[in-house]
Amino acid sequence: LVAGVALCAAGFVASLVTLYNGFVTLGLGGGTCASGGPFVVAHQCSSGEVRQLLVGLGGVWVCGGACFTAALGGPASAVGLLMWVGPFGLLGFGFLHGSGGLVAGIVFLLLAAGGLVPPLAGLLDWLANAGNPEPVAPGPMIVRATGRVPPAPSTVTTPGQVTNAAVPRRIVPPGRE
């Protein structure tokens, strides 16, 4: 199990690095992956960059899925959050560093920061409790079920007919009385 964790973490990070390298190389070169239309792309992206992007992206999904599955019995939520924060943060940094996409970079970094909110909130809770474990049960029980249900009040509508007031015997729609 531990070897599997190391293996999938290595695969996930390697895919992230590959994705980042492809992304930044493409951005720094000013390349664009597009063709056709009335405009001609000045710096067409190379096939190596496309390979890096595709392998990186596929690897992030495959290795991330493997890591998440391996973590299902344990820290699955933490692994899931790392898988969220890693790609978004790295691509946000890549936007700022490589292709000059300021708005996209900030948006991606904000998205990555969103994945950090739950663990930070947990940390703040933990600090507020001064590190003490949270109480599991809120003290002794005050109200306890007896197992007996009191009967509902009954009314006598017609002579000889006893009707439970809570449950009408016949539903009469309005206007049909």
Binding site: A6, A9, A14, V17, T18, V55
Partner: protein, 32 residues
């Protein structure tokens, strides 16, 4: 998860991540 398993998990994932950085640079070089 016991404390020992958690520590092993953390060490393994950090080691894997470190190896992943080196592996990733090799992979990107191989793909270009």
């Amino acid at each position: 998860m016991s404390r020992l398993t958690g520590v092993l998990w953390m060490i393994a994932s950090l080691a894997g991540a470190g190896a992943g950085v080196a592996l990733g640079s090799l992979l990107s070089r191989a793909l270009t």
